[in-house]
Symmetry: none
Subunit: 125 residues, 4 copies
């Protein structure tokens, strides 16, 4: 379910966060599903429990997960819509990236092609 690369420069807890989000977006994880416990996941991934805890906390703050003390961690009710909302914020990131590429003289068509191909993959699924 999770693939951790311990030697990657991107922090382990971030890898867990983004992979969880991806699982929610692809529909593998649905609202109400129970997440593996901090301890079990830490053992399975050979990672420090604190790292898992930090990832779960982050997801809780973002409204993707809902931690219930004494019972476990669950996928929040409207996790999917919450994520779409959060991603919309990333449009500014795309805007500034496009800005820079435009400035560098990279033809517009090349950017469009990137986007087209990303959406084609999606449609075929």
């Amino acid at each position: 379910m999770f693939q951790i690369q311990p030697f990657s420069p991107v922090p382990v807890y971030e890898q867990i966060v983004s992979q969880t989000e991806r699982l929610v977006l692809t529909g593998v994880l649905k609202a109400g599903d129970q997440m593996p416990s901090v301890r079990s996941l830490s053992i399975r991934l050979s990672v420090n429990p604190n790292t898992i805890q930090k990832a779960y906390n982050e997801l809780d703050v973002r409204g993707i997960l809902c931690a219930v003390p004494g019972k476990g961690c669950f996928v929040a009710a409207h996790a999917g819509e919450r994520l779409t909302e959060l991603c919309r914020g990333k449009l500014t990131e795309l805007r500034s990236l496009a800005d820079m590429l435009a400035l560098a003289g990279i033809p517009k068509e090349e950017l469009i092609r990137c986007i087209e191909s990303a959406y084609e993959k999606r449609e075929n699924v």
Copy 2:
């Protein structure tokens, strides 16, 4: 010429690097132009000389600047083309970003609009 935000999460030296690159791309800085000296810039921006040094060194390694001991720091001969080249590598960044937004169900048209607007600004200049 430079605008530094000392409390930003993005390192000061990186701010200088990216702003310099931007100045080259916009044509404000041209090949052969002399950059402000490490010391003078450090005073003007209220930043430690080592921080400027690090930024200049990074730009030297990337082939944007050419540091000449005892003389100063100059914009490299083919800085513009070098930057275009480096930016092309950022297309993969855009690809993964588009991928995620596609997954989140953000309509393709919204991304296209972002890109169009970035290139329109450019054309009007």
Copy 3:
């Protein structure tokens, strides 16, 4: 593991870089191996931590090491091949050196002998 000459004209950080590269080429350091920490190495070599940091950063940029914040510094996956690639660039250095020696009237056989002996040492290992 490292031999530093603090009064040499060649910078300390460069000594660390080249000795690390040598250790990788000789197979003493293998992909995935953990490097000594910045602090521990700085103490062992009686050198400032910043100097070690600079060396490790340089090796990271070159693709020989992979620094993971909070975990340590590791020998990169394809460090060996990366080095072979980088060394091929040094052939131009050899070319200009041979050029000058040819001009100085040093017999070709003397150069060939140098090269032969370098490769003989290698074969015997």
Copy 4:
């Protein structure tokens, strides 16, 4: 006679030294020839007189030039042989370079080819 690149990272005085040595080796400058005066050369190359002076001093120390106070600077009597001698010292440089390339697994034939081509150019002259 001299080609100076003021924006090169290699010091100007070193450029003058090496180009002078090259002119001696190629026979353009012969024993007893008078060098241009410090002042005239500094004007012609648009360079600080101190820089020329430093280059001439270095060449004097090496036994290539001979400065005669009040008269000028002349190519030393046995400049050619002196240079051959000095170049022989560079064989150690070639040795260590070959050593590293051998270690990196670059085939011996590639180095030999470099040397052959350098000497062929010489023969044709």
